[in-house]
Amino acid sequence: MNDDLSLLASAYLDGDVTANERARVESDPQLLAEVERLRSLRALLNDVEPSSISVREAQLATALDVWDRLPVLERSGARRDVTPVGIDAAAVAGAASVTAPTPLGSRRRSSRTSSTRWLAGAAAALVLVLAGGVALQLSSPDDSDETDAASTAVADVDTPESATEVERADDAAGAGLVPASAAADATPELDTGIDNAAPPGENAGVDQLDTLTDLADFAAAAVGAPSAPDVPAATSGPSDEELSEAETFLAEAEFPRCLGVDIIVGPAVYGDVPVVVGIDEGRDLAIAYRAANCAEVARVRLP
């Protein structure tokens, strides 16, 4: 069969023929046989083994995850002429390389952003401790040489400024200036042993909890705090140096997991007792306990 006839049979199969061409094909057994052959080929081509359910669901979840991480303005089409750049692009690219996070993972990720505020507070507290030590040394009249050395040490410690930078960057995230996912991705994973402790209070110091309601709110806010809305980054996150200082502090500040706690929220003062607050995810409980001996101070069901 020559090319013209093959072309005619192919076009007939696709319904792209004139009335005359149709009549010609239907009156020619050879052409009709060719059409049937091509029809068989089409059936073969469409016999595609389906993707497995797990593969399909994983692929769809990944695609939707990418959608979730798109900046809101871009997702809704308001920024149709804008291509993600910088940290947005990195967030999208990161999303493309992972499968859908588990709900627990999402909860922990959402709390990670606000944990930076606590890191800043912790770093600031460290500086206060150091400053207190220096003051004690300064009060000793016989140690003039050490006083000089201590003064130099104080001059070298710029943690308050770093903490301020961390806090400022985190404030930007909290105010919606930095996408939560981008902030999380830009922040190295810190193996702090406190599992994303994230008291969300405005003050950098240790929170005062007076009632069980306070305790419940404190814990719930840490794990349930909404992530910052996805909008273009207006500022950068904390620098490596700033994070390193906070990390150094946190490495020294490990809290024991007691009483079935899965997530350490962070330190607080309950009544007048210094406690560590944790969450038992299985039972949905917030538990305050003494770090020294794991003695329970209070517990309450999460709201």
Binding site: A11, A63, L64, S76
Partner: protein, 195 residues
Amino acid sequence: MVAAAQGGDRFALDQLLRRHYDRIHAVCRRVAGSTRDADDACQEALIKIVRSLPRFDGRSSFGTWAYRIATNASLDELRKRERRPALHAVDEEHRPEVVDPRADGFAERFPDRLVLDDALDQIPEDLRVAVGLRDVADLDYAEIAEALDLPIGTVKSRISRGRAALAAQLRLDRDPQSEVRGNKPPSDERRIDPP
């Protein structure tokens, strides 16, 4: 549904992707070839669709647009494959024994699918893509012309030539009774029967 998804409706997007998933996957499978490459292409296509959805202007149907993205993702995957070392082909003699009777039906069809994959690999890429978009993605000539940025006449010609080449590779004879299923063709020839 497209408008709703573009407006930020996540559920609508989920439904939209599910509605077109099988076709997107099939296009990737037929254009990219191997399962692994097709899966990679399909994932890449879905991500591109999601990321580009806000810029979809509705000049073509969503399906046309999505299959075009799937086609491009598959072609990208093919280019990557060309840079990878080739794997050994499975032949009839080295076909593994079926140990699970429930898989027997699948396994029976497996050689046919391998032969078809092989035949698709043998024909020029431009012909394979045209045939895939017509016979698998079910796009009409105008849509394929738009997707591939080609004149319609060229599209018709490529489809016809691609089909003829595939039929020849598969030995889809005009007289099916001239061969009996089960008789293995000579080693340098292939033949499979339609499902």
